[in-house]
Amino acid sequence: MIPSVTTTTRVRTPALGQRPGAGRPDDGRPPDRGEPPPPSPRTYRLGMIFALAGISMLFLGFTSAYVVRQGLGGDWQPFDWPPVLWVNTVVLLTSSATLWRAGVCFHHTHWRAFARWTTVTSLLGLGFLAGQLWVWHQLRMRGIYLNTNPNSSFFYLLTGTHGVHLAGGIVALLWLSILAWRLVRPTEATSATIARCRIAVDVTSLYWHFLDGLWIFLVLLLFLWR
């Protein structure tokens, strides 16, 4: 009859710590710490993962449009890709490897190597973008524009959108490189810089490897589903 009876019998009042349950990790300090809790790397990581989920949905939208539009047939015309595109692909894959190296060096506190690999990664990223622009240029020279046919539309759209996202990643990498070079000459701010780098390395790597994987996906889509 009165549902409250059944519900209240289930009321639990466990002692604290027995069932922490909460998301914020128990750092063993008393709750009254007077200072806001330090930024948690986990928070940034989670935020990035959800951002990537959003970006995935964007490209999923494009992909479904691609498949549908291609299925309509008629005006869809495959074209040959400028070979630079494959060079770009290799460059981007390499950049993932160098960023991974940078991360390893960071965790081994080899600051100089860390700074070097991060910078190399940024440069490779810039190289990739420049290469993509070169691809576009070559296509235009051959008379293949955004509105030439749906295949070229999607080619420009997908490479362009990927490029915009990548450009964001490059900004982050350049910033990380600056931080990294600061670590090489230790000052009193070093420990704070290390803390920032830890988060930045983590989040930027996630983003960068994701964009790398996304590029593979796009190449396969554009290449195999012409």
């Binding site: 009859m1 549902p3 806001p36 930024p39 989670l46 935020g47 959800f50």
Partner: protein
């Protein structure tokens, strides 16, 4: 990059503190004010439309001065009617129903209810608001550019929206602005969604386990997940649409189309592709608008019936189920698009199955009320009104969800009646409930209960008077998005209904002045609010009204109880705060 938490003390300069603030509470209020401006504009636009519908041949010399183009001879051109309709729908759906429940109340109360000092990413949060505001301004700009606002509806169906000015006024610059505004809105919503999700997962205070989260938090969380997955798809569609318009591509424009005696130089695209992309977003969007209201309703029914919410776990599962199913039913907006009957059946069955979790929620709400010591406060009345509207609007959903019936009802006033009751008004009632409930916490003063109750009853009667007759017009076959209400002979006999609806609309709009007055009056003269005026249990009622900059001062709250411990046998009061420490034995 910025720190994941705000500084401990409020910034001292006015600008940093109240304008470019990273405090989730200020941002919440900014969103609410944006929504308030938007809803006022939205209402005015709808009243103009109602005048045209009820008295199509009447001339309004005064209005023609205001809109020299759209109302040239004192009567509204059909095109102007359509652009008003587009702006009305867009503003209401995006800038009212999406911003107020989520950006407004969600921002203000989610962190407090989980015991956090702020959102996970305060700067991102500020950015979300300012991008939303920019988006709103771009949208409004569409009203004043040459050609005016687009006439393609809030769904911006291609090819009408894709081919530019040849297809009608407002489809040039106006439509471009519309798309840009929506793209900005998508970005802002994405940023805000990932902030909500991360905050809920990561910043709960000690003891705030998942099963102790208030249902409002579950609702905001699910809403954020929907937003995160749905808005990017609209963004994708928007980019394609913009490219069709300015890049010469042919994603949505079919080959060989002739418009106004001109051949459109696109080829081979599919207008249905736009519909798929749009509704893949569009259906989840209607849940983005309503889920926070559902969460709040659960909260309020429990609080004011002084009883635990009936079936906490079932309520959570129902929210998730609605969210999940919401992504699988978009085809029910496209039954007449010529889709295969097999797809129709699949979409239909999935659509009707949303009735199950919806019914679970409804029955649990009723069970929560059953046998309770109900306190009929204004927020409670609006929560009960929400249930009522959700049921009356949901029933027509079950009608529309059947392809055989929808073939007839699609694009008639029956659909208008359905979605206004269930999405428009129900969500608005959720917002009203939120304002009356949380106003004391946000501004430290109670709102006038007397005025509030009058406001409730008149609004409640008003909205039913507006939207119930629309079902009849739909059954008669009155087309929707159509200015000529006497354009066909068979429509002439129902002109009295049109007039009645317009009177009801004017009445209901006027009643809202009471609400505005109540807000202003209460801000200045309202009775001072105590910490916990409603005797509720959740964390926002443990902090001062209004809460200080860092919500809980120097101490993080500790949570020992679930959110709905009302009338616990043996307890000294009829409610136990979530933070109340258990007696030592």
């Amino acid at each position: 990059m910025t720190d994941a938490v705000t500084t401990h003390h409020p910034p001292s300069s006015f600008i940093r503190r109240y304008i470019f603030s990273t405090d989730h509470k200020i941002i919440g209020i900014q969103y609410l004010m944006l929504a308030l401006v938007a809803v006022l504009i939205g209402i005015v636009l709808s009243l103009y439309m109602r005048l045209r519908l009820a008295w199509p041949t009447e001339t309004w010399p005064l209005l023609s001065k205001l809109f020299p183009e759209g109302m040239a001879n004192g009567t509204m051109t059909p095109e102007f009617y359509l652009s008003l309709m587009t702006m009305h729908g867009t503003i209401m759906v995006f800038f009212v129903l999406t911003t107020a429940p989520m950006g407004g109340f969600g921002n203000y109360f989610l962190p407090i209810q989980i015991g956090a000092r702020d959102m996970a990413f305060p700067v991102l949060n500020m950015l979300s608001f300012w991008v939303t505001l920019a988006s709103f301004l771009v949208m409004l700009a569409a009203l004043v550019v040459e050609g005016g606002a687009p006439i393609s509806g809030w769904t911006a169906y291609a090819p009408l929206s894709a081919i530019g000015e040849v297809a009608g006024p407002g489809l040039g610059m106006g439509q471009n602005l519309w798309i840009i505004s929506i793209a900005l809105f998508c970005l802002a919503s994405l940023l805000s969604a990932l902030n909500f999700i991360t905050t809920t997962i990561n910043l709960r205070t000690k003891g705030m386990s998942l099963s102790r989260l208030p249902l409002t938090v579950w609702a905001w969380f699910t809403t954020a997940v929907l937003a995160l997955l749905a808005f990017p798809v609209l963004l994708a569609g928007g980019i394609l649409l913009l490219l069709d318009r300015i890049g010469g591509t042919s994603f949505f424009v079919p080959a060989g189309m002739v418009v106004s005696d001109k051949i459109i130089p696109h080829k081979g695209g599919s207008p249905l592709l736009w519909q798929h992309l749009f509704w893949f977003f569009g259906h989840p969007e209607v849940y983005i608008a309503i889920l926070p209201g559902m969460g709040l309703t659960s909260q309020l029914l429990s609080t004011f019936a002084r009883k635990p919410v009936f079936g906490y776990r079932a309520m959570c599962l129902a929210i998730f189920a609605i969210g999940l199913l919401g992504f699988l039913v978009w085809g029910h907006h496209m039954f007449i698009s010529g889709m295969s009957p097999y797809s129709s059946i699949a979409f239909s069955l999935l659509t009707l199955s949303i009735g199950v979790p919806s019914a679970i929620k409804t029955f649990n709400w009723l069970a929560t009320l059953w046998g309770g010591k109900i306190r009929f406060t204004t927020p409670m009345l609006f929560a009960i009104g929400f249930v009522s509207l959700f049921v009356s609007g949901g029933l027509s959903g079950l009608v529309l969800g059947q392809p055989a019936l929808d073939l007839y009802f699609h694009d008639t006033y029956f659909v208008v009646a359905h979605f206004h009751l269930i999405m428009g008004v129900a969500a608005i009632f959720g917002i009203f409930a939120g304002v009356y409930y949380w106003f004391p916490k946000m501004f430290g003063r109670m709102m006038s209960e007397g005025l509030g109750k009058i406001h409730f009853w008149l609004t409640f009667i008003g909205v039913y008077a507006i939207f119930v007759p629309m079902h009849i017009m739909g059954i008669v076959g009155h087309p929707r998005r159509y200015a000529e209400s006497i354009g066909y002979d068979f429509l002439k006999p129902i002109m009295p209904i049109h007039e009645f609806i317009t009177y009801a609309a004017i009445f209901t709009a006027a009643v809202q002045l009471l609400f505005l007055f109540n807000i202003v009056w209460s801000l200045a003269k309202g009775q001072k609010a105590s910490v916990n005026p409603w005797e509720a249990t959740t964390l926002e009622w443990t902090v001062p009204s209004p809460p200080p900059h860092d919500n809980f001062g120097h101490t993080d709250p500790l949570v020992y109880h679930g959110p709905y411990e009302y009338s616990v046998p043996g307890a000294e009061k009829d409610f136990i705060m979530q933070t109340e420490a258990p007696a030592r034995t």
